[in-house]
């Protein structure tokens, strides 16, 4: 074999990875690109170092250079990583080699893992190439070796998540061009957003919790690890929270990739449902962290922020599960029968209506538990004998958003069954949700502000928007809750009613379609059983000769 000794060993354990590496070494395109990026990054850092290092004290400039270097490296990894991974997987479909891979009997999971390992190796090789450049900041002072090593470790974790995301994009794309475009375009939008939110945004919180961590430093996490005081918050915020977020993200991308690579007849739901059932309580707990950490007047807003995050997560999951099959396929039912599957396996299996019901019930439960827990915490801060306004505000907000969630899930089910495609249902649902969110406010801006009535009265026009929940919160805090609460309650009842009606219509139609398919199958099976195997005849309308 002309695979070298190292690759030959790899060929038996990870054939896809061994082959990809063999090709990459021979082509050299990706390696050349990464070397080029590493050289450019090195030159840039050296240029900045020599241009500004003369005018500043080295101890300050080393810390600045550390931030610049790892920020640039983050952008390269977060943008190039997904593209490399997405192209790696989609090239099999584009190059018409995917079918050959599947027909070898190797599971799609193993193929996806092979692609994941190759892309991870490539991006980690890039990190290795830029290691010498990072030493410049270390030499100038201001950061320790441990901090630089930790920064590299975190960059490697970001690279792994970016590659996992890229693989999930490549699994859905039908060509390398589309895969690269989607992966790079989404990374070009997502990477700066995360940089600002988790980098700059969280650095303020980190500075508030550990004053030794400088604020306005996007690369704050490695500094927090070495400079933060080791206590319960340290374990929760710097160890448990990042581990949970990275773990859940990797698990989600893995299940999404497997679902996208499987066919409609396979079980594409169980893995994602397991992920959802584990993620939901974790996300509920994570959403409660800002509320638990904040004190004083902004505590209610921290709880509402967490509630909003949880609501968005539930909506996201509803959209993800729009891709579920209407019911378990014959193949899945056969597998269940063979394995003697119990009710748990069946509940976690494919089936749009049961999945939507699961998402609805568990999400409402989570939102309810979160709102009640928040209300209980907030009520302790209320003055004795006074109405716990903050608790009522949080519960009202939770009630409104839960009602809207019922509508969103009901609409997704209805649209999925009507549109007969997940992407169609998702687009339609997004459009309707956007209209529900924005249209009442546009109506308020058009008619409400020009009206002679008081703003608190004309704000009623915006009541159907889920954002009106924040108006209710303001009204309760302002001591004039009645009008806002009543209008909010009416609108939330409207959303619940519409959601349940749409859910019912969707479920009825789905049941009818599934029943029709099962009848067709039963008829076919009866026909097959009735026909003797040796009496195989061509279709009656062809009048062709019979098999000899």
């Amino acid at each position: 074999m002309s695979f070298g000794p190292g690759l030959r060993r790899l060929l038996y354990s990870q054939p896809v990875m061994a082959r990809d590496l063999r090709q990459a070494l021979r082509t050299g395109r990706t390696i050349f690109l990464l070397i080029l990026l590493a050289v450019l990054l090195g030159l840039l850092i050296l240029g900045i170092g020599s241009a500004f290092g003369m005018t500043r004290a080295p101890i300050n400039f080393g810390a600045v250079l550390f931030q610049i270097f790892f920020s640039l490296a983050y952008f390269i990894v977060a943008i190039v990583g997904p593209a490399v991974a997405a192209v790696g997987l989609s090239s099999e479909r584009d190059g018409r080699t995917w079918d050959a891979l599947v027909l070898t009997g190797v599971d799609v999971r193993a193929i996806a893992k092979g692609k994941f390992y190759t892309a991870t190796c490539t991006v980690l090789a890039f990190l290795l190439m830029i290691t010498p450049t990072s030493l410049v900041s270390l030499l100038l002072g201001g950061v320790t070796l441990t901090e630089v090593v930790l920064a590299f470790g975190l960059l490697a974790i970001i690279a792994i998540v970016a590659v996992a995301y890229g693989i999930s994009v490549g699994a859905a794309a039908h060509g390398t061009g589309a895969a690269m475009l989607v992966a790079m375009a989404s990374a070009l939008v997502g990477a700066p957003v995360l940089y600002v939110a988790v980098g700059f945004g969280m650095s303020f919180l980190a500075h508030g919790t550990w004053p030794e961590v400088p604020s306005l430093s996007p690369v704050w996490l490695p500094l927090a690890y070495t400079r933060g005081r080791f206590d319960g918050w340290y374990i929760l915020l710097l160890i448990a929270l990042p581990t949970a977020m990275v773990g859940l993200a990797l698990w989600f991308f893995y299940e999404l990739t497997v679902a996208r690579l499987s066919t409609d007849a396979d079980d594409r739901a169980s893995g994602l449902k397991r992920w959802f059932l584990v993620s939901l309580p974790i996300m509920t707990a994570i959403a409660a962290i800002p509320g638990a950490m904040t004190h004083g007047s902004s505590r209610l807003h921290a709880w509402i922020g967490g509630l909003g995050g949880l609501f968005v997560f539930a909506v996201f999951c509803a959209y993800v599960f729009a891709g579920d099959a209407l019911a378990a396929s014959r193949r899945v039912e056969f597998q269940w029968q063979k394995q003697g599957a119990g009710w748990k396996t069946r509940v976690l299996g494919p089936g749009l209506v049961q999945t939507a019901m699961l998402v609805l019930v568990t999400s409402l439960l989570s939102l309810g538990v979160y709102a009640l827990a928040g209300a209980a915490v907030l009520s302790r801060e209320a003055e004795r004998g006074a109405m716990p306004a903050a608790s009522i505000a949080l519960l009202s907000c939770g009630e409104y958003w839960s009602s809207f969630l019922v509508f969103v899930i009901g609409f997704v089910v209805w649209a999925r069954v009507r549109a007969d495609s997940a992407s169609g249902a998702r687009i339609l649902s997004t459009m309707v949700a956007a209209v529900a969110l924005a249209a009442p406010w546009m109506a308020f801006l058009t008619f409400g502000l020009t009206s002679a009535r008081r703003v608190s009265e004309t704000l009623l026009i915006a009541a159907p928007s889920p954002l009106y929940a924040l108006v209710i919160v303001g009204a309760i805090e302002g001591g004039e809750p009645h009008l806002a609460l009543t209008s909010g309650l009416v609108c939330s009842l409207g959303w619940i009613s519409m959601g349940l009606v749409l859910f019912g219509l969707g479920a009825r139609r789905a049941t009818r379609i599934v029943a029709e398919q099962r009848t067709l199958r039963a008829n076919l099976e009866a026909r097959l059983a009735h026909e003797a195997p040796d009496a195989l005849m061509p279709p009656s309308d062809t009048a062709a000769p019979t098999e000899a």
Partner: protein, 320 residues
């Protein structure tokens, strides 16, 4: 060995397969023919576990393809029409990779596949530098790596030169002797008629004939295939001619329809098959009519290939 019953499939609202039924016995070479878009590849992909048919039942070696694709895959070897290769891998590396995917010892499996397909001399060449015909052979070698019981081959000889075609034909016969079942589709009908024990003709998603070639011809000439040949119009004087035209011959059947003495007209590509009942004068009249209509006639020869006749006559059913 292969059993397809009541197979139907749709892409959206378009029905591409309609109630397809056939059976291929062990050690049989079954030719699957039909015009482009007839449903050949859809049928083949359903058999190869790559497509879940909308309705119907396929069994390979007694295993339900729809229910247990993972058990069917080791039994079959599928060679797709214009399948891709990894251009930066050598022939040997390419086969070693697929052998490893099949959990086989690459050294043994690769040598065996190279021997079978006579690719040994090219083992160190990069796949991307191979000619089309060599790539086709490489695909076949990959298909044979795990020694499958059933070979499903979509247009296996489309890019081969005449020598390679002859070699491949001999290989098919050797594989049949080794008790392999071969299901192959091809546009090259002479190639099929030389090796196939039975054929299936598919058009517009319907299997319009299937069985041994000789039997189909016999039935066809008995007029049992409706609307193609009318027994009253055929007889000892009936002759078939192949007329090769300059450009597509599809436009010609209406010109000859209803012409006295012409009992059948079929067109495929630049080939026109005309059945006439009469002497050379009648044939000359046919050519004159074609030339008069501005159609260039390149050659006229008596029709010899039986399978071409069957194919053209069966698939000309809906033409005017």
């Amino acid at each position: 060995m292969i059993l397809a019953r009541h197979l139907s499939h749709r892409f959206g609202s378009v029905e591409v397969l309609h109630d397809i039924n056939f059976e291929v016995a062990r050690s049989e070479i079954f030719g699957f023919i039909g015009p482009n878009g007839a449903g050949k590849t859809t049928t083949i992909r359903a058999m190869a576990t790559l497509l879940d048919p909308w309705s119907g039942h396929i069994e390979i070696d007694g295993i339900d393809v729809g229910l247990e694709p993972e058990r069917v895959r080791p039994v079959i070897g599928y060679m797709a029409d214009q399948a891709g290769i990894y251009p930066k891998l050598s022939v040997e590396e390419y086969l070693a990779f697929f052998a490893a995917m099949h959990r086989l010892d690459p050294a043994q499996a690769v040598d065996r596949a190279l021997d079978l397909t006579s690719l040994g001399a090219a083992r160190a060449e990069l796949s991307g530098t191979l000619s089309k015909g060599m790539r086709q052979r490489l695909q076949l070698a990959k298909t044979l790596l795990h020694d499958p019981e059933v070979l499903i081959l979509d247009e296996p000889a489309s890019d081969l030169d005449p020598r390679a075609r002859i070699e491949m034909r001999e290989l098919f016969l050797r594989l049949r002797d080794a008790k392999k079942t071969i299901f192959l589709s091809s546009h090259i009908l002479t190639e099929l008629s030389d090796v196939c024990t039975a054929i299936g003709v598919i058009e517009k998603g319907r299997l319009i004939a299937y069985g041994p070639i000789a039997q189909i011809i016999q039935e066809l000439h008995r007029g049992e295939i409706s609307g193609v040949v009318h027994p009253a119009q055929t007889g000892p004087q009936a002759k078939r001619f192949k007329i090769r035209t300059l450009g597509p011959a599809d436009v010609t059947p209406p010109l000859l329809a209803g012409m006295t003495g012409v009992f059948t007209v079929g067109a495929s590509g630049d080939l026109l098959v005309v059945g006439v009942m009469g002497g050379d004068d009648l044939l000359a009249g046919v050519v004159k009519r074609l030339v008069g209509a501005g159609i260039g006639v390149v050659g006229v020869e008596p029709e010899r290939d039986q399978l071409e006749t069957v194919f053209l006559e069966l698939t000309s059913k809906d033409q005017p």
